[in-house]
Symmetry: C2
Subunit: 245 residues, 2 copies
């Protein structure tokens, strides 16, 4: 069977979604059932111990910590994990302006083992360096803060741009992925865990449901969000892959 047919419901891909309560962040574990190699998407400092335990209990070997962007709401677990597991490499978009072992860009493929292949799509606008990762044959996409369930990341700092976010999400995600493609976001604040491209096209009150770019820009302008609580502590550390100051 072609490697392009791999999906999260294949038994060749080991998959776990994990939740960190404080920042309502989802961390994703993807592993190759054949080679037992795995990666983590968006690990959080507070849950490093839990995540590594899950990796070990499933008999997996962690190779990569991948961040969808330079987070402002929590400190990445990548730096702490790299300290504990010397063989682990960190991955982030070159446009994030952050330190990492591997810098990626549009079209690059992040791979572990034979079955886990994540294609990088640049979806900036929440931050300059936001990327989404598409698994195998477009069955699943990890959208970071670009596209959330019935929402999206804020666009008012970190080089954010509502226009850019709209173009990326509607063009590359809504336009480039099938309606059945599962959407795995970096956060949800209401206990929802997954959506689909079709659902978000139809129901996302900001980016879907027929909203124009102009309407989206106005919606984001009207949010008037407070300055993010953890940004001053998180950003400097995340720019150094979670290393302490």
């Amino acid at each position: 069977r072609s490697i392009e047919k791999k999906s999260l419901s294949d038994s060749e891909v080991i998959f776990r979604q994990l939740f960190e309560k404080e920042s309502s962040t989802y961390t994703y574990l993807l592993g190759c059932a054949e080679t037992r190699e795995c990666l983590l998407i968006d690990p959080v400092l507070e849950t490093v111990e839990r995540d590594l335990r899950v990796v070990d209990e499933l008999g997996l070997k962690l190779k990569l910590c991948v961040n969808t962007h330079c987070h402002a709401d929590h400190i990445t677990g990548s730096g702490e994990i790299k300290k504990m597991r010397k063989e682990v490499k960190s991955v982030i978009s070159k446009r994030a302006g952050a330190m990492a072992d591997v810098l990626i860009d549009e079209g690059d493929v992040v791979q572990v083992g034979t079955s886990v292949k994540l294609k990088c799509l640049a979806t900036p606008g929440h931050t300059d360096g936001c990327v989404s990762f598409v698994l195998g044959d477009n069955t699943d996409v990890f959208t970071g803060d670009a596209l959330l369930i019935r929402g999206c990341g804020r666009t008012d700092f970190q080089g954010g741009s509502s226009e850019t976010l709209f173009d990326g999400v509607t063009g590359k995600l809504f336009g480039g992925l099938p309606d059945t493609c599962k959407v795995w976001p970096a956060h949800d604040y209401k206990g929802r865990m997954v959506s689909t491209i079709g659902e978000e096209k139809r129901l996302n009150p900001r980016l879907g449901a027929g909203k124009t770019k102009e309407e989206f820009v106005q919606i984001m302008k009207d949010l008037n969000l407070p300055y993010p609580k953890k940004i001053d502590a998180s950003l400097p550390r995340n720019l150094k892959c979670g290393a302490e100051e």
Copy 2:
């Protein structure tokens, strides 16, 4: 294809796991893609509005609210949902001693549409009336508080019995389901969402990993848990399907 082959990764079964933060409860939505009928397992009062929105947004028609047992840690959403949606029926084990429209017992099948068929296994011991629900061809099991990820429900009140819990979990779940069967618990307090029968047999520190019944009984005795905070408010209401006193 035989109806017995249905699983959560089939596109004929619509599936969502939902989380309620206060009590760390998982609510499960299972729907039939063909008839659009659906059911909820263990809805929580606080998240009724969210759950019904998900049901509606997915174009589903809610038929049943199913409780795995009479909860002591949260008030079921079943009563509130029945008030808002007159066509919805509540389901609970006849051994729970609680009010519901449909009382079920070992071996009964709870069905909505053509693809969602849940076989009821009595797994008492956390409470007298605890049941687990096995989907289709043993691909997924909803274990309530009988079997949690690396844990289990307490056995020190509500007719609890460590011996009975051990027999049910090791006999019917570990003994009767394949290692690949996914375990969807009623709670997790560490942000984990799913396990498998194989994992719990191998790793559950109370019920798996070679523990004997005697060791399990001692482990549960030694927990010395405090009186549950919400039991006095939750139990009387849950015995009446969530109705207000």
